[in-house]
Symmetry: C2
Subunit: 385 residues, 2 copies
Amino acid sequence: MKNFTFFNPTKIIFGQGTIGALKNEIPAGKKIMLVYGGGSIKKNGTYDEIMRALEGRQVEEFSGVEPNPTYETMMKCVEKVKATGCDFLLAAGGGSVIDGTKFVAAAALFEGDPWKILKTFGSCVKKALPFASVLTLPATGSEMNSGSVITRAEFKAKLPFKSDLVYPVFSVLDPMKTYTLPAKQVANGVVDSFVHIVEQYLTQPAHAEVQDRFAEGLLHVLIEQGPLALKEPENYEVRSNLMFAATMALNGLIGCGVPQDWSTHMIGHELTALYGLDHAVTLAIVLPGNLTLRKQLKHDKLLQFAQRVWEIKSGNDEHKISEAIKKTSEFFESLGVKTRLGDYNLGEEAIEKVVAQLKSHQMIKLGENGDVNLEVSRQILELCL
Amino acid sequence: MKNFTFFNPTKIIFGQGTIGALKNEIPAGKKIMLVYGGGSIKKNGTYDEIMRALEGRQVEEFSGVEPNPTYETMMKCVEKVKATGCDFLLAAGGGSVIDGTKFVAAAALFEGDPWKILKTFGSCVKKALPFASVLTLPATGSEMNSGSVITRAEFKAKLPFKSDLVYPVFSVLDPMKTYTLPAKQVANGVVDSFVHIVEQYLTQPAHAEVQDRFAEGLLHVLIEQGPLALKEPENYEVRSNLMFAATMALNGLIGCGVPQDWSTHMIGHELTALYGLDHAVTLAIVLPGNLTLRKQLKHDKLLQFAQRVWEIKSGNDEHKISEAIKKTSEFFESLGVKTRLGDYNLGEEAIEKVVAQLKSHQMIKLGENGDVNLEVSRQILELCL
């Protein structure tokens, strides 16, 4: 196991009817900016519950945060925060709203051009407004981590940033608030969480037994509960398990002391920036090709994945590994998420464009060993056609 | 899954050579009280490393914290903290030293009789000094939780307390510092961690799939790595895995949203208070009898434990459950920890005394359903003879 530091101060308030906790958790006297997306929180009752909990408090609102939140939109929110003097942000929605709010938290107090926050991947963030979240879509883990991904539409750039200063103070997770999600978003959430785990797990052995067991446990939960959530949208236990699994998948814990890949994410980000594909869709497309191309490098962990997660007992090692990758693709497809570029009408021409974008964003040394250069990315994408 | 709140702000600094981090992690200007036990930290180099890291800082020392730290000893430390004006505590040792330091942190700022902290199980704690730990013995999980157990020798009372105010600010975990532990302490640590997990896992099904998978994963790690640590005391990877597993076993995570038992601990505490048995020894004695007596109540989870942890495939459910309990006892014995009261020259007479102590400490509604009354405790102990 490599040396590591684990620190995660976000308080998780989990369960049905917990939105009322906002009343006591947001310090008195704060002027609150409620940040949300396209209004689904109004349809499913989340907005009303929040407003009831905040009765008598000073609350401003900023709505219209899009999936893959843009710099352009979030900068409008920054202006509104400054103009209204809000000093506490409350994100209500999924990972996009929370990611966007993290950027606002940092940008509102940033001196200079806030684009620098993304250009430096967050290292220049020295202060941020406190914020919390009410999660309505389990997927990104943003509710309990310090990462954010922002898209700058005019540059077709989708860039991540990270800072210890943008952990949510607390996050409210009420599984009932996920009942009304469209099936597509539920499926995307399962795929997203699955790939978060794999990015931290399918690398090279680091003798990190706890982290491996936790990662495998989370994958088991997603494989069992994901299809159930589609079949029984109002099964509270299923929704609870998916929600907690998605949070645990990317709160730093399973990534402690192990190599991490993230090349699937970085290649996927470019597909979203160029073609507007859902984030999870890009992961479902890129992951199988990525694992296939780099299966020698990842041999030992892929074998462990085949045996412990997919419980493949027969055949030689190579067969087990191929089967495990195949079962992973089939799992995504079974949720209704197609796994080929061709399924989205993208062909050879897209590969060149993605590679050019990776180059322009300096994404030239990806993967756990930094050896996923532009040529390797190209080869991965060729396997995704 | 039941509603829950998870909050754990302790920063974990993990790996070889990490004690040097004290230099930057303890805020400048703090007057530090270093708290430790019988001096093993001087033999294994921990003391010297700490002192090097704190060169130029104001450091006072309090040594002599005993296993099962006493109120009497820790109150002396409180006096010294007050007399010297220390405003940051640094525990260096195992769970006893850290537990003792938590009490000092709360008692040093407590108005009134500090015994009340234990009488109220911590609910009366309103402030506490900040403190950190350097862990040398993986076992109790105290390095990343807010619980503490203190023994008042004059009353033969061993009582727990808990408060969000006594999370360590940070804990340094260097697995190399565990190389010189006596085999007995290593074995005790494995048993202690094992039973911590079981208290949160072997109750009734709560449809908490993530927590179950995490608990089972940790048990697998202890079963695999525990014996290896005894065979290969200087195997860094093994020591790392045990250390991280012990921390994860009791940092609140696997206990989220599930029923918790803790009757084995409460009965065990009385055995320690009365007869001075090692804490882990008392757990190894009480657990098998406890699981055996209450196996109908715990049927479903015991069966899951048998199948997923001990991988028992044959026989009917009753057989699998009996086998799982037997294998648990055998595992403790294989580490050199005897599992019968008789092994420690205790017989029938001890049972009456333990039951009387439980009564005097109001431990009359133990277990996940509060149905472990004095009569049930007596029956459990009879199975432990």
